[in-house]
């Protein structure tokens, strides 16, 4: 094993991260905007609009948006989309081609995440518009100035839920089960305890952020600290997902047999 790399000619195409990002983005966007996905988005938008219409009779419509849409519906949606996307990339149909290209896997995970989050942000504007539309139509959103705050809340939820979806998708073939356990223990359990411990809950942080800016309730921390915590959580979970992807072996059916 003495062969030197100098003996062999250099690659004819030099790897280029900027071009590689373009390639990953193209594949991600195309696969997220296929006809089936657009139909699913239409259904989700209709269902969200229906829920909003059902909720507009009650007082505290804005609270419903935070408690139901931002704290349950949207995280679940973003989580399933992200975990499904990364699971797709672990199948032979993708892995046999993507991870044999001269692109470090951590970079692939990062590029994929950025593109996925951007497309999710855009597509989730539709259900958000449905809710805001119902709220404004029935005068249930008393201050139009709260809409951008809710939108910022939506952006933060998607950022956090997508990175967590990537991590769970890397960890198990049943990411939703893992998410339910996490949701039950951290978000539903610890997050509901009115102490500093509840700051471990990302949905509590989103709630703190929205309510802090709208002045609806007294919160545990400032909106800025909530944003920071959410960004750190997202970066950490994404980094873990990237490390897992880097270490992962793609052994095909043989690996499964063992």
């Amino acid at each position: 094993m003495t062969a030197s790399t100098d003996v062999f000619p250099s690659p004819r195409v030099a790897p280029n991260l900027r071009n590689a990002f373009g390639g990953v983005a193209r594949l991600t966007v195309r696969r997220m905007l296929v006809l089936n996905q657009l139909w699913a988005l239409l259904v989700v938008t209709a269902v969200t609009g229906l829920f909003a219409w059902a909720a507009h009779h009650k007082a505290g419509f804005e609270g419903w948006v935070v408690d139901f849409y931002l704290s349950f519906f949207l995280p679940l949606l973003a989580f399933s989309s992200a975990s499904g996307a990364i699971r797709d990339d672990l199948r032979p149909a993708s892995s046999d081609y993507l991870y044999l290209r001269p692109l470090p896997r951590w970079a692939y995970a990062g590029f994929k995440y950025v593109t996925h989050v951007c497309v999710t942000q855009l597509t989730c504007l539709a259900p958000f518009a449905a809710i805001v539309g119902v709220g404004l139509f029935y005068h249930r959103l008393p201050q139009a100035g709260h809409v951008p705050v809710l939108l910022l809340g939506q952006i933060l939820v998607i950022v956090a839920a997508s990175s967590f979806g990537f991590l769970c998708g890397m960890l198990t073939s049943r990411p939703v089960v893992l998410a339910l356990i996490y949701g039950g223990v951290v978000e539903g359990g610890i997050g509901q305890i009115p102490t500093q411990l509840s700051r471990l809950s990302m949905l509590r942080q989103v709630k703190n952020f929205v309510e802090g800016l709208t002045g609806e309730a007294e919160t545990l921390g400032s909106p800025l600290s909530a944003v920071l915590v959410i960004l750190v959580f997202s970066a950490a979970t994404l980094a873990m997902a990237a490390v897992l992807l880097h270490l992962r072996e793609f052994s095909g059916s043989r690996g499964k047999e063992s």
Binding site: M1, A3, G23, R91, A93, L100, R101, L103, F250
Partner: protein
């Protein structure tokens, strides 16, 4: 030139399942066939070469480097997997452009390369914008080969690329592979279509139960393949008369009349027969319809009963 691939005491196990067991070999430039029955370790070898899995023990080097997760190696090689799985929701041109960009091309260069490669593998233009999942098996194989050629790799690894191809498609494939080899690229190819492989490859790696059996590897070596066949099958009008004629001249070690018109012969010294081939058959006076090698060296090497 140095060996492109060097493996030393290479093993790979999947839990209790054997993939490769303590094999050492070198692969040099040219077209090399990787043959063996199902489960022999061919795909495991390809996954090790492409850096998809790590060795359990031993070492493997591609272009003098460890291929595991190594972009420097990946920039020089390409892989066409056996699996028919292709990504959903994309057409060949979009897929190839994206893969080309991931390899380092700009968007425009990637598109130019993608079009050129789809033409080279003779995928009809009408299929360029059709979803990959809607393609036939043969068309998918062509697209899979095209994605291999995108970044002008120096080593192309093809796992059963001829599956699903008709004879014309197989010939097209062979032409492309010969052109690549002539252009300086090396090709490592596995296939169960041994005759195609024998026509294509200059060297062979034989695997069985995760090992490289020495006897069979020698039987398939270039030197052995230059020798005359040790057994010959004749289809003729009177097999008994032909057998008697050859036996009387002490050419035959053993013979077998299988059907009324088929004689299988094992030679004492194949060169003795083949050096006087035409004269002997004319002298026998038996009308001959067909003379062929009973089994190719590669077939015998693969189907040999022992390790």
């Amino acid at each position: 030139m140095s060996a492109i691939i060097q493996a030393k005491n290479l093993s790979r196990f999947y839990g209790n399942i054997l993939g490769l067991n303590n094999v050492s070999f070198e692969v040099h430039a040219g077209i090399t066939g990787v043959v063996g029955p199902n489960g022999a370790g061919k795909t495991t070898l390809f996954r090790l070469l492409t850096g998809q899995v790590r060795p359990s023990s031993g070492t493997i080097e591609v272009f003098g480097q460890d291929p595991w997760n190594n972009p420097a190696v990946q920039a020089r090689l390409a892989y066409c997997p056996e699996s028919e799985d292709v990504p959903q929701g994309v057409d060949p041109i979009a897929w190839l452009v994206a893969l080309g960009m991931i390899s380092g091309y700009s968007a425009k260069a990637a598109k130019d390369r993608a079009c050129a490669m789809l033409k080279r593998v003779r995928l009809p233009e009408a299929a360029w914008r059709k979803r990959l999942t809607a393609h036939s098996k043969g068309m998918r194989q062509r697209v899979k080969l095209a994605q291999c050629l995108l970044h002008e790799p120096q080593l192309i690894i093809l796992d059963e690329p001829m599956n699903g191809l008709d004879p014309v498609g197989r010939e097209d494939f062979s032409v492309v592979l010969r052109e690549l080899a002539a252009g300086g690229a090396s090709v490592l190819i596995s296939s169960h279509l041994l005759h195609d492989l024998e026509a294509l490859c200059s060297e062979f790696l034989l695997f069985r139960w995760g090992r490289i059996p020495r006897a069979e590897a020698e039987a398939a070596s270039p030197d052995a393949r230059k020798r005359w066949p040790a057994a010959t099958t004749f289809r003729c009008g009177d097999p008994e008369a032909l057998a008697r004629f050859l036996f009387d001249r002490k050419l035959v070690r053993a013979f077998e009349i299988e059907e009324p018109d088929t004689l299988r012969v094992q030679w004492r010294d194949p060169e003795l027969f083949y050096s006087r081939f035409h004269g002997l058959l004319l002298e026998s006076g038996v009308p001959i319809q067909e003379v062929r090698e009973t089994a190719s060296l590669l077939e015998r090497a693969i189907h040999a009963p022992s390790l």
